[in-house]
């Protein structure tokens, strides 16, 4: 069967109404739903709905640590663990909106409004010293936020070309 040639006409057209509740922003901001929030409101919601797992100071618990860790990524000491958080590691702020919107709070995922999620994203980014003012966080400005680790990712260059194996293998 030439996959290009055949239309089977199975399925139905998906209308705008069918698709309206799906949220998946692109890193440049396209796809972010209309809305806005404030850091103050985000703090409120965070303390009510997130702190029990992510910590009063966003230090983590049942849920991941959310802030801190800048400067810990450069490291070659197996005894020292890098601290990868929203603040230190995430390249895009849109991801923060997206993930909170779809998956948090953990036991009631998808229950927050868009405005609430903008507020929470703003609060977390503010606590991480990435947002340094108190302006509203909106679908217009979220993608413009430059995350500290924006340039922290490189493409896959595998297969790797290894040096020869140790000629005198030993117990390590």
């Amino acid at each position: 069967i030439s996959a290009d040639a055949i239309h089977y006409n199975f399925g139905e057209p998906a209308s705008a109404n069918d698709l309206k509740d799906f949220v998946s922003p692109l890193p440049d901001g396209r796809g972010l739903p209309a809305g806005s929030g404030t850091i103050a409101h985000g703090k409120q919601i965070y303390e009510e709905k997130c702190a029990s797992c992510h910590g009063q100071k966003l230090e983590g618990g049942l849920g991941d640590r959310l802030i801190g860790g800048r400067g810990t990524l450069v490291n070659d000491d197996p005894k020292k663990a890098p601290i990868k958080t929203v603040e230190s590691y995430w390249p895009y702020a849109t991801t923060l909106f997206d993930y909170i919107k779809r998956a948090m709070p953990f036991y009631s995922p998808g229950s927050l409004t868009n405005d609430e999620v903008y507020s929470l994203a703003g609060y977390i980014l503010s606590q991480g010293n990435i947002i340094k003012n108190n302006d509203p966080i909106t679908s217009e400005n979220l993608a413009k936020i430059l995350m500290p680790n924006r340039d922290g990712f490189i493409p896959d260059h595998r297969p790797e070309h290894f040096k020869p194996a140790d000629k005198n293998p030993q117990l390590r």
Binding site: P27, A81, Y89, P91, T95, F162, A165
Partner: protein
């Protein structure tokens, strides 16, 4: 009249005689030739394994059992097919329970005609079947700096092989029509984590498919029932489960799973992103950690090899920690992006031995030692770059026959 059935029993049924997971308890006669067995159909038409078989998936202890993983007991496996009930799982929001009668697949974004499909629709398309492994790129993440877990289930259990059946993604994408400029797909699952990954369009069109069949029946709930994506040779996280939506775009979506997670941090502070391919890897599953060899003599060393780049070309086995190598026998059929069973006849002389396997895939890639791997990836912390640990595994056999996980390179 009709003679009654005499059941000679050693263990009478009682609430305490609960069968292990996957089995139903049956009385065990002293001599099964002297008494009729269990009647056909008593199982309701779907069989279970013997109550004497007890290997199970083992859940790695994470902070919550809803975001966690459970590993295939590879040490008990034979052949290349993983029993469906023992296929590893990595879930981020528990196992979704979905009614296939109401489940819908939405395909939209940079397409000519956005569409929604029922499961009947999906199954009406032409189908393919492929025997493929799926491996979580985090397989073995505990083992970077120290031999940590004790069994091969622990060190390598996030890999399994099934025969998957479903509709090629190219057929679905041609159905909606892909608009010029589209380069990536977001694939989204209908579980509580609403898991998303970005897949390159080229890969999608090449060999990805939406599977609804696993080993001849519907895929299992923990494998994404009723529909999961298969991305042959790519890391397990891309094989989105409980697929409900596909959106086409001109760039990757940069979801949480391909930024916060599943990126490989190097000592210089940069992290590799979209490290999709699962490189060639092999491991000896027997003898393996925690086993005890009952004395000198013949043992068939066996294990599995696999590569996301295609077929396994050869597997060598060493019993002296990598100083000398001999080729193992590969079990046909040797399939691309599929586990291959290898076997190696060994006569143990009672002395200490370090058992290793090393595979080569069809591209010529040779499985590295942990030393070779760390030489390139570094060790940025106790679990290093976390993902894609495909190094040679070493099992030490001591003079008492006890087998343990060691680092030897």
């Amino acid at each position: 009249g009709v003679a009654g059935m005499a059941l000679a029993q050693t263990t009478p049924p009682s609430p305490e005689n609960k069968a292990p997971a996957g089995a139903v308890w049956r009385p065990v006669p002293e001599d099964a030739t002297k008494t009729q067995g269990v009647a056909i159909g008593e199982d309701g038409g779907y069989g279970t394994r013997s109550q004497f078989e007890t290997e199970v998936r083992w859940r790695f202890t994470t902070k919550t059992p809803f975001s966690s993983w459970s590993m295939t007991p590879l040490e008990h496996g034979v052949g290349i097919i993983t029993p469906s009930g023992l296929h590893f799982e990595r879930d981020h929001g528990g196992i979704a329970t979905i009614d296939p009668a109401t489940h819908k697949l939405f395909v939209h974004g940079m397409v000519k005609q956005p569409k929604k499909f029922s499961m009947s629709d999906v199954k009406r398309f032409p189908s393919i079947s492929r025997i493929h492994f799926i491996e979580c790129s985090g397989n073995g993440l505990t083992e970077w700096s120290k031999p940590t877990l004790k069994t091969v289930q622990g060190t390598h259990g996030l890999v399994s092989t099934s025969e998957w059946t479903g509709v090629p993604l190219s057929i679905i994408l041609n159905e909606v029509g892909v608009r010029t400029g589209a380069k990536w797909l977001l694939v989204e699952g209908g579980d509580a984590s609403v898991m998303t990954r970005s897949i390159p369009l080229e890969k999608a069109m090449k060999d990805c498919f939406l599977a609804y069949g696993q080993n001849g029946e519907a895929i299992r709930p923990e494998q994404g029932y009723p529909l999961r994506l298969i991305v042959p040779g790519y890391e397990g996280n891309t094989h989105i489960k409980w697929v409900r939506r596909i959106e086409l775009a001109d760039m990757p979506f940069m979801t949480r799973e391909e930024t916060s997670k599943y990126t490989d941090l190097l000592p210089n502070g940069k992290a590799v992103q979209f490290s999709m391919i699962m490189e060639a890897k092999s491991v000896i599953t027997r003898p393996s950690g925690e086993m005890v060899l009952p004395g000198r003599g013949f043992y068939e060393i066996t294990g599995m090899a696999w590569s996301g780049r295609g077929r396994i070309k050869r597997v060598d086995v060493s019993t002296d920690g990598g100083r000398t190598w001999k080729p193992a026998q590969l079990q046909d059929p040797i399939l691309p992006v599929c586990q291959t069973r290898f076997r190696y006849p060994w006569v143990w002389n009672g002395k200490e031995a370090i058992l290793q396997s090393r595979c080569v895939d069809e591209t010529g890639y040779v499985q590295p030692t942990l030393g070779q791997l760390i030489d390139i990836r570094g060790l940025n912390g106790p679990i290093g770059s976390v993902y894609h640990l495909n190094a040679i595994q070493s099992w030490k056999v001591d003079t008492e026959g006890r087998v343990s996980n060691v680092h030897y390179y």
